[in-house]
Amino acid sequence: MTTRPEASEPTRTVVVECSLDASPALVWRALTTPEILAEWLGPNTMKAETGERFTLEAADAGGTLTCEVLEAEPPRRLSYTWRGDATDAVGEPLDSRVTFELTPLDHGRTLLRVVHSGLPVALPRFGSVLQARAGRAGARRTTRSVRRPLAQGRIVGGRLSRMRLAA
């Protein structure tokens, strides 16, 4: 059995918010219909019912993910676990949760809020090295975002940090 002395390390949450030119019902379909979900998120066996399990392939973000639907309340809220075998630089496995919140806006638009919580924080001993790298990568991303604005997002780090990602 492996012990995890760093278990007291806070986990972090990534929050991305954006308004979409589509009704909540349409966005819900895009989030829960396997063929449509595959087009933007990755190949999957999605079944949007509480307690259902499915897999999701995201080669660039953890490989094959094992998901269990925790909440499915159409067309408002969808939440599932996001677990992967891959580990990060410090051997932390991915054991997280993704929640999609849909809020109706004027003119048939939808506010989509993606909350990805429970992400392991790079351990302190490695953290400084990785953070310096991430800082540089972040600077590169900002430059790119200026040219082609991405969805508005921010990272919420509990008491660790709070920063805006892309304006």
Binding site: L20, A22, T87, D88, G91, V114, A122, I155
Partner: protein, 104 residues
Amino acid sequence: MAEADLFRVLADPTRRAVFERLLQAEMTVSDLKAGFAISQPAISQHLGTLKGAGLVQERREGRFSYYRADPDALAPLVDWVDRYRSFWPERIERLKDVLKRMDQ
């Protein structure tokens, strides 16, 4: 080296510990051995793997080899938070394109 390979190389706790010690100072194998409860050949094996991944560099001086970690080799690595910070905005851009093509 591909990111996945770097993750794999550093996923081993002993190897990671060797790498971390070499981030702090240049050392010979016997210097390194002092801090570990494993044999010199085992340490050499970990050093070989780290070298192969470009994470550690070797400098020969006389009869001795000195090893040091190369932090630049970590460049492709990000932590999960950093990865998803770019993943979700990119996927949402794709979602927007998909929504445009869907029947209202």
